[in-house]
């Protein structure tokens, strides 16, 4: 019969040791993450720049940067594109493809499953700059693979369909995480449930909806949260389109990068980072809400 203490601490770590375990991580996070992050938020209320007169004498301008951003059509454009990017490539693309693959590969031969998983994972672990070159070769106008396959050589996919290209690209890039997660989630679904569904004559889709989904709801939500956050903050689109043509693929991290490095407007870029943080916060809150709904 476990005591209250054992309930709170079943492994017998003890408070002192627990603090000792958490301390190194918290120290690093405190120094290299919380501190610079707070400082960045502070810079967001100044007119600080890297060069020019405002670099010599930065002034606190209060909420000016935020109101400027909210009125800036480029910011609105980026916000919309980021939402599109997250919805298309993470919430729908990676989620659906990851789940579909996990579901389909459940019972195929080990060799085939390993091969497919291997390629999906390879897309995930290759370094960003290399991946950018790979996709140039797919989408380029000079003998790019996609143009050859569809018999439309000379189509500049990244220029004519920039967001669609990025969404397909990011689905390719990130499906591995969802696949891994759903594979393990499906393994935990009691076989008896699936058997019951089969005996009841449920179609594949009905089985997923009625027998599987209730079991893996938590997985779906956690997965969606993580990949949404990662996608919303992903900088790789810059390597592919640099935000072009004419801001048509300028997602928020790209806009922030361009404002910070190309225009040197660090105060403004920091303010936009904070707004991105608020956006992330909203997504996380929605997620927590849904998760509570389950419990």
């Amino acid at each position: 019969m476990p005591s209250r203490a054992a309930e709170r601490d079943p492994a017998g770590i003890g408070t002192a040791r627990a603090i000792g375990f958490v301390a190194p991580a918290l120290l690093l996070i405190g120094v290299f993450l919380v501190f610079p992050a707070l400082w960045t938020l502070y810079i967001g209320i100044t007119d600080y720049r890297l060069t020019g007169p405002a670099a010599a004498d930065p002034r606190v301008v209060g909420a000016d940067n935020f109101t400027t951003a909210l009125r800036d059509p480029l910011f609105g454009n980026s916000l919309w594109l980021t939402a599109l990017f997250v919805l298309g490539s993470a919430v729908v693309g990676q989620n659906a493809l990851g789940f579909a693959l996990a579901w389909l590969l459940r019972r195929v031969r080990t060799g085939l499953r390993r091969t497919v998983e291997g390629f999906v994972l390879l897309a995930w672990i290759l370094p960003g700059p290399v991946v950018a070159y790979l996709w140039f070769a797919v989408l380029s106008r000079d003998g790019g693979t996609l143009g050859l396959l569809l018999d439309r050589p000379g189509t500049a996919w990244l220029v004519q369909y920039p967001m669609a290209s990025l969404i397909v690209f990011n689905t390719w890039r990130g499906t591995a995480f969802s696949l891994l997660l759903y594979t393990s989630a499906l393994a935990a679904v009691p076989p008896s449930h699936l058997e019951t569904a089969r005996l009841a004559g449920a179609s594949g889709w009905q089985t997923v909806r009625d027998a599987v989904f209730p079991h893996i709801r938590g997985h779906v939500l956690t997965n969606t949260l993580l990949i949404s956050l990662w996608t919303a903050n992903d900088f790789t689109p810059f390597l592919l389109t640099a935000g072009g043509p004419n801001h048509e693929s300028e997602v928020l991290p790209v806009l922030i990068y361009r404002q910070a490095l190309e225009s040197g407007r660090l105060g403004y870029a920091s303010a936009m980072s904070s707004l991105l943080l608020v956006g992330n916060l909203v997504v996380a809150l929605v997620y927590l809400r849904l998760l509570r709904g389950r419990a």
């Binding site: 501190f35 707070l38 400082w39 502070y42 810079i43 600080y48 720049r49 890297l50 060069t51 020019g52 007169p53 405002a54 670099a55 010599a56 004498d57 930065p58 140039f136 106008r141 000079d142 500049a156 990244l158 220029v159 004519q160 592919l240 389109t241 640099a242 935000g243 072009g244 043509p245 004419n246 801001h247 910070a260 490095l261 190309e262 225009s263 040197g264």
Partner: protein, 463 residues
Amino acid sequence: MRRTTIVLLSVAGLLAGCLGQSRQADPARNADAKDVTLTITANAVAGGKNARGADWIANWVIPRFTEAQRAKGVNATVRFEQNGAGDEDFKTKVALDFQTGGGGDVVELDGIWLGEFAQAGHIRPLAEVVGAAEVDAWDGWRRIPDAVQGLGEFDGKRYGVPMGTDGRVLFYNKKLFARAGLPTDWQPRSWDDLLDTAAKLKALPGVWPIQLDAGTAMGEATTMQGVLPALAGTGTTVHENGKWQGATAGVKEVLSLYQRIYREGLGDPVLQQEAKGRDRSFALFAADKIGILLESDYFWRSVVEPRTGVAKMADRDTAVGWALIPARVPGAGVGGQDFVSTSGGGVRVVNPNTEYPRQAWELVEFLNSAEAVKSALAGGAQVTQRTDVNDEVLAGDPMLRFVAERVLPITRYRPGLADYPKVSAALQQATADVVSGRSPDEAARSYHEALVEAVGEDAVTGG
């Protein structure tokens, strides 16, 4: 709550402490030091960007300078901080260095950054850092033409020594001209003249007659190889009498030129929007698929160069022609000129934070001596800052001699002001608008609004 306040206060304190310090130091400090350590910072790296410059600093400058110092009884150690990243990345890194009181003792900057660095207090006039007498005593100044010296000046003060310069011309493919029945010895006199030739080239299948950089993807290339030379052809420069050109007649004429090229099928509008469009335009020119291309002499030296270029043309010397950029109509160019051009180049500055200002200046003098400038070319040819070197090394290269003799006298530099990058970005946006189908008037209006937003109403004319 109290903890948060303390954190915020310390953040603010650190910010103020690190990001706003003023420096005022004696130019003669450590002038007699026997042990000197100097660092050169450049956006050049062995095996990568500007590899030749990097090798030169490492293998020629450092040993020779160290030796020369040893002869004077000074034990000098010279380090070389190589970079090789994108210009904006490099600029950020250097700005962070200056801001925090560090950085190399001699730093190579793009001339166009001079103004913003000076206004930020990152760099100071040479006279302050090194001492006016020291600086003026250098005999190299009289070898550098005044126009080129201007590259290293801001607000009428010298901040650095230019490292060389370039000039923009119209390159054209003589083979295509011959195929279209055009004379291969070509010099347009006006924009109409240029566009008529382009229209004739249009008869050739698979050939884009003209490439005038446009759009935001090309970045500064659009401004430098497109808008600014065109604007000079309308008789103005982008910054005149203390004001930036808004939606003026000149800007509208430039945008109309873009419209005529890209809406009448004389140029490829899609190429202007590709992330690697400029590289592609080089490859297309080399493959005889672009007729006329406005570029700097870098195109001749490093792009279509037959042995080491990035888009080699084995028959460059016979196939590539060059012509001056015409004003809109003869005599309508800036300063009443018939022909115009724009130029840029790098500048070497002495870091105000240096421990050894005198020795750093000696290093700059050394880097800009005739002997050093000649050796930097490593047998190649390039328009340098020094007339004596140019006379010698450009003799064998008709194109570069053309730039030194015909282009440099009529060229204009960009205004090295802190606001310039914003103006440049707005101009790029305006050309992008025109290429994607908006009318020049509309594009000019949006440009004017963007400009007012960026630099303030008082600093803009026209509209």
